[in-house]
Amino acid sequence: MDLMQGTLDMLVLRTLLVGPMHGYGIAKAIRSTSNEVLEIEFGSLYPALKRLELKGWISSKWETSEHSRRAKNYRLTAAGRSQLKRKHSKWTEFVDAITRVMGPVVEQVKG
C-alpha cells in the first residue's frame, strides 16, 4: 500500500507514543498493528525518521539492548507529542468527512 508522506509521519509518531523503538522495530510495529496491510519497508521509513528528527519531533540515541546489541532508538519529543495531537485531530476530521461522503453502498433497484 502506498502512503503519503504526511500519513507515514503520523504513523511513526503514533507508534513511538508507546515507547522508544529502533527504526526496524517501528517498521515491524506498523506492519503488525495494521494486520500486514501497511507493508512499510525500513528503506522507505528511514528517510522519514531522519526528517522527523530534523524537525525535532523525535530524538535518537544509541542504546544497548538486553541481548547486548547496539541499536539506535527513537523516542517522541515534547514537540513531537503536540504535533501528533494536531495530526490526529486533523486525521479524525478527514476520516469522518470521507465516511460521510461514502456511506454504505446500496444496490440500485431497477424499476
Binding site: 529502533h22 525500513f42 546489541r69
Partner: protein, 146 residues
C-alpha cells in the same frame, strides 16, 4: 529553512553523521530479513537529502572536476586568462575615461560658470567672455543677453 540544517554545513559534522548512518543501517541489517528492508542505498541517499546540502556537495564536486580538467590544459587556461585580463582592462580604461569626461562635474570650483569659446587667441577668448556675460548671479548661474 530549518535552523538545525545549518550544522550539516560543517564537513566534519556530515562525515560524523555519515558514519552514524552506516552504523545504524548495518545494525538493522544484522537483525532483519533483507526482503523487509528494501533498498538501503536509496534509503541512505534520501536521508542525506533531508540534511539539505546535497546541492552544495554537487557544486563542490563540479568545481573540483572543473579544476582537474583545467590543470590538464594549461595553454587553454593561459589564453582564457589573457583574454579576460585584456577585456576587463580595456573596459576599465574606457570607463574611467568616460567617467572623467562625461559623468563627473569638471574639477573646478564652480563648474556651472565655465564657458566654452570657439575663439582661438587668448585675448579674443577673454573679450568674447567679457562682452557676452552681463551678470553672474550669486548662485553662479550665467545669463546671456538675448
Amino acid at each position: 529553512m530549518n535552523w538545525r540544517r545549518l550544522k550539516y554545513l560543517l564537513p566534519s559534522r556530515r562525515r560524523q553523521e555519515e558514519r552514524d548512518m552506516r552504523e545504524e543501517l548495518a545494525s538493522v541489517a544484522q537483525i532483519a530479513d533483507p526482503r523487509e528492508l528494501g533498498n538501503l542505498t536509496l534509503a541512505a541517499e534520501n536521508a542525506r537529502e533531508t540534511w539539505g546540502w546535497t546541492w552544495l556537495d554537487g557544486v563542490v564536486a563540479d568545481a573540483r572536476y572543473a579544476f582537474r580538467t583545467l590543470r590538464r590544459q594549461p595553454g587553454f587556461v593561459a589564453v582564457a586568462v589573457l583574454l579576460l585580463a585584456l577585456g576587463i582592462g580595456a573596459n576599465t580604461a574606457i570607463f574611467s575615461f568616460a567617467d572623467a569626461i562625461l559623468l563627473r562635474p569638471l574639477p573646478v570650483a564652480r563648474p556651472s560658470e565655465v564657458l566654452t569659446s570657439t575663439a582661438r587667441h587668448p585675448t579674443a577668448v577673454w573679450k568674447a567672455c567679457h562682452t557676452r556675460i552681463t551678470r553672474i548671479s550669486a548662485r553662479g548661474a550665467v545669463r546671456f543677453p538675448d
